[in-house]
Symmetry: D2
Subunit: 433 residues, 4 copies
């Protein structure tokens, strides 16, 4: 039997708190899960620093990747005998679902920003490079790794396949909303996925949703909206993210300045020099990062030491609301005062902005352009969701942004009351709110 | 106001997936949670290697410790106005609940076995030593750290207080059963804790349970039984544990033999030499262990390299059932054969035994002697649980043991079919089952 | 001890699927639950005909009333030591919460429409009249029954007390959304009530919500929106409601025409004559209604017999979308055709309209005027919810109406294909959609 | 296409709180659900009088019947391609599952006892008699109604089919345990059905369970045990059952004595005379029974009036533990005293016994003989469950019986303290406990 059609002698299941069970019958999928590149996702948390806010959020990207695979698997069971659906694409969909996050590193967001990396690029490299994953995929067909990479990269010719993995209601989002809700314990993030799966239909170059399922989709969009503001952009999580980013900035700066580290930051050198090989990238999991942070909490450089200590021991920055347009004067004054008291404002006075677009009907030319959701009407026509749903219309295309100013309150409080800057700083901070 | 009575201006809550919210009003508790020794528990998984079997089980001891605190807090709300209850012990109970696992290190079980450590001893040292935790506790009263240590050590004079934290139905067990069930996703581990809390009563030197709650307690005992065999003793988890233990053995042995490591195992030296200081102990969190394992997967020593590689990439040992009494002959033959094919049997042919005593009425002189559960009858007499419950009686005092023989099936399979040992080994292995 | 302060020797609990347990300590509450007027609520379904759509929705008003009581009880535990809260009102709040639906009869909506009744009026009569409930309440104080009636009637002087029971985020709504979701099994209707309860504050003449809880309130509003359209206005439920209403119309009409019933409709006579005494009203529970429907399914009058048979055996009307403004011509033509084929259109061609206002900031002068929800800002000012929440603003004040035309498809289908009306009727019906 | 193979144009789903969705594709199933005999099950509560103890337990037999159908449907999806499974039996299994409780009347237990009825006999009559159900089944094949009746009656030749519907781990039990747990809200009754379904295998003349699923089965057996004692045999439920039975006894006795009822008990006459026709039986749903009870609460006969009033208004009997073997003397004395104070002891002093056999390996010749559960071992042999599971062995074959003595405490309390019987009665009652 061809490798691509090989079934396990007996179905394997993973116990999954969100989908109850993840089912694996295909030999290819089983082999992919066993590769070291996929196992590495166990050592990368799905939500980065969110566990410092929600102590349950320790779940890994391994976890999520299995979940996305399982959702696509269930969708395809429903698609099996439908017109418009090409059964030949089944294995490709499953592999792309399983591997879509393969290139994620620890704390991707901060690392990518500071070291100018792109996890999607690494996903591609892992799939196409000299890896265990590539060996497995190549056994299916010579061009199979490229196909999988194309689907994940959204350049695959069959857009219907792409839309299963990347759209405004794809398996990725449906899994992470539910999973992140489960592990954080928040009561948002629930929607009737079983119903959505039942009303999904393949339709030309996209997956659409039968109109009768519109309310379930509304509920999903609202869940997404709530999860963004309640969990993903939680101000405490962002505080940890700010510190993390500043650690990376500092250590890079020190390296560039020829600073002598107590322990050579071997794993980081290629990151500092912005020429990261695939091998270096794969080695750098979350444990390694934590290990270095602990080392750096004992470095001589006061800023690196302090920030690393703060991250490890969760002595986070506090925040006030901040409007960057209206409050530049206050900001500049604070900047001056921080310098005066010896707190480098580039590290200790940080504006962080989050913004979200809960749903959009169409955003041509934007960085992450995702297809709008289409409803399949009883007359077989399509209608874009926000034209049918008042609720979705109300939030559609509305970008909401939130700015906060982060600073180490503990350090300011420790200043002597006789230091005039102390009072001024607090006055300015409370004014910004 | 005395520090011990200080309340936070506003109640703080932690979102908890198991208890919904963990509530903190006491300044002392809030300060303890903020110490670096307590924050360190975030970097130690509650279930060690279980996440390699149940991918959701990434939750930390931080998580569990807050849960135990919350359960005790709820119990004490119920006790508040009851006779037999000394309100003065409230803060002591809460602190002991919160801190009872403070001395746990990464993969405690294996580390303790190999390096002859005792996490309870470290818990005591952290509470009584020069730590942030000790600073906070000492502010309550000079003798308060000692009291907390005594409760955790079960030597505190008021046994009623002790029994809240350590008995056969204590807050510790009630939290971990539910929490481990939640994060693994198994459907065991559920029982009606709310009801148990409502029927708990302080009674002389122990917490007892009103007879009307007997069925809820039965359910709890059964949950415990199921969790042990379905989760805690899962054979795949034990495989990872076996490998982990063997890594530690190997690295210690190499150190003792003067082996030159590519990277000096600084963090481990005092462990190898069995003179671990508190400071060394605290530094060694799970991230550090994983970091070393990754280093060791690149060492020259074949055994250390192979085992570390296996652990990191989840290439685990397989197992067969094994009866150490009846199968010594097979075992010795396998031992010989393993040597012959160049697999050191001390590292690659491992018997692992698990045993559990789901409930016991009385076990004087045993290593971990826990009080039996007593029911409070309508006539105010006490009756030991197994005398009232047929189900509990049925399993009471019955120790169940399970032995498995672990070995690297992949390595045996890779032997050439022409090697006569290959066939013999498989024959012997299947014979043991 | 005064009756009003009397506590039960031991707390009583009701196992409740939604709130886990309903706790009763007050003698007064316990006695009220035991009255026959309150027990009667067991024989009236919370959701009338919804069980014909959602087979789980068999839960009673008894069920819901205990739930509302329990929510108010929990709110008051939080209010206990807050400024602005008058502890003396506690028992009044609990009684009003428990009894607020006391005057509901079976299928209230239809009965009230056809027989011009008002369940709020009967609630008042039961509280103030010669009933077991009145006996219990009067033992608290002579004017206590009147106070309870006033709170339920929203005329009580302390508007803070009123707003616990009747506002846009009162205990009534919080219970029924969750309860109806639980029993129907839909995945809407969930929100984080525990969090809402924690952020509720007494504030002058209303209950307000701390701004930090805004997202939980948004979630509640969305749940409400979804429950209305997914459950309460489900078109199949409305079909059953249409038939039920027509049965009552028919039987009243027959009575007025002097029709001789096979079995005298004794329980209904005072309803037909629109002079229903309290005693008559209380006797008419759902079992009695069903009994009569079964009798009427054997009556001589064809319309009454058919409609009753349909209701009992769930042979419901089908529906098409209908726009009463644009489709009067089609409607009149259908009316004519129905007459022609011998189906009285007054009974067999029924337009039903549902409309909902998910949230409103202010609707002075409207029939059911409920207070808007106010957020308590950090600076102690109030802000009306829709001014802070984009989502709520989006749906605020927007009344959505849905019209459907109900008709007995089975009867039309049974017409001979040679009857020209058959084809015409179907053409007209499909045109309306 | 043959009627038996006809599929609905589009799958129909019922929202079900327990199984999420019940799926119907077969035209035959859809038509059966629409029959009036099946719809009648909506008017019969699954748990009879349990709602007087657990207010959520209002769910109907309709509800449960759909659930059993859905479980069998899911089992058969798993069986589809297995050896030993005859696909031709699929529709038969589904119909038998759906209809297995069709003959249940209101409060079956009491009615059957008093009027010597047998609901299984009526199930058969409905399936084979002149009913809508029979019309549907006969369209499949002439002998199909008889086959369905045979499966339900356990006389069908293919015992594998029978064991799906009636065994110690059949679809019936799996549904009711979960459903009754859900609606009562108790935390027992949960087990991992999804896992059990996955490990079920057709094996010669029975359904067996793969050994790897043993723990899930243990959990199911324990759930059953707990549900029996916590829910089904709850003493308050039994109190209501006792009163109900006595009402039926009394009214039958009165009828036999020629008592003149205010309202002729038409629906009951054939029950009193023990010659109930199918038509009479079907008419008597729960609403009709409640209607009569309300009438009888206004009868002249003091016993009938009082008992009916008690049932309707939940003024139940209290109970004490009672040992019928040891306490005959006390019983006789109480009997005498009750007579003396004018409370007919045949109606007011009632011993009720409940007993359960949670699991049995084999009970040949017993009234309800169910197959033991067999585990399918890795070597393809079968082992009876209690030989493998210690827990099941512990409770296997152990019948547990509980006796209680019910009496109207309110009536005794109302006796004057000067009446010497009062004191004696209470002394005797407390002695029995």
């Amino acid at each position: 039997m061809a490798y691509k059609d090989e079934k396990l002698h007996e179905e394997k299941v993973f116990k999954d708190p969100v989908h109850r069970y993840v089912h694996v019958r295909d030999r290819v999928i089983w082999d992919l899960i066993g590769t070291k590149e996929f196992q590495r996702l166990r050592r990368i948390k799905q939500l980065g620093t969110s566990n410092l806010t929600f102590h349950g959020a320790e779940h890994s990207r391994f976890n999520h990747s299995l979940g996305v695979y399982e959702i696509v698997r269930r969708i395809l069971v429903n698609f099996e005998d439908r017109p418009n659906w090409n059964k030949e694409e089944r294995l490709l969909c499953l592999c792309a679902a399983l591997l879509h996050d393969l290139g994620h590193g620890p704390f991707s967001h901060s690392f990518e920003k500071v070291f100018k990396l792109d996890h999607e690029e690494f996903t591609k490299q892992i799939i196409l490079g000299e890896t265990e994953v590539n060996v497995v995929l190549s056994k299916v067909a010579n061009d199979f790794p490229q196909k999988v990479a194309d689907v994940i990269n959204k350049t695959y010719k069959d857009k219907l396949v792409v839309s299963l993995i990347s759209s405004q209601i794809d398996a990725d989002r449906m899994d992470y909303l539910q999973r992140d809700a489960y592990f954080t314990g928040v009561s948002y993030g629930h929607f009737d996925m079983e119903r959505i799966l039942r009303v999904m239909r393949p339709y030309e170059d996209q997956v659409v949703v039968k109109e009768s399922g519109m309310h379930a989709v509304e509920d999903y969009i609202m869940s997404r909206y709530q999860m963004y503001w309640q969990v993903y952009f939680h101000p405490v999580t962002r505080s940890a993210e700010v510190i993390l980013t500043k650690i990376l900035h500092r250590v890079k700066q020190l390296y560039e300045q020829g600073y002598i580290f107590k322990m050579e930051p071997t794993h980081f050198v290629s990151f500092f020099e912005e020429k990261v090989s695939l091998e270096d990238y794969i080695l750098l999991d979350e444990a390694v990062v934590y290990y270095y942070f602990q080392m750096w909490a004992q470095e001589d450089d006061a800023i690196l030491r302090d920030l690393s200590y703060r991250f490890i021991n969760r002595k986070l920055f506090k925040y006030v609301e901040f409007n960057p347009n209206l409050q530049m004067k206050e900001w500049m004054e604070l900047y001056r005062l921080f310098n005066q008291i010896g707190l480098d404002p580039d590290y200790y006075l940080v504006v962080d902005s989050s913004s979200d677009l809960p749903y959009d009907f169409y955003r041509p030319g934007e960085e992450e352009e995702r297809l709008p959701i289409h409803l399949l009407m009883p007359n077989r026509e399509l209608k874009e969701l926000s034209r049918q749903s008042e609720i979705v219309e109300a939030i559609s295309g509305k970008k909401r942004t939130d700015h906060k100013l982060y600073y180490p309150r503990d350090a300011i409080i420790q200043l002597s009351d006789s230091q005039p800057e102390k009072k001024k700083i607090f006055e300015l901070l409370y004014q910004t709110e």
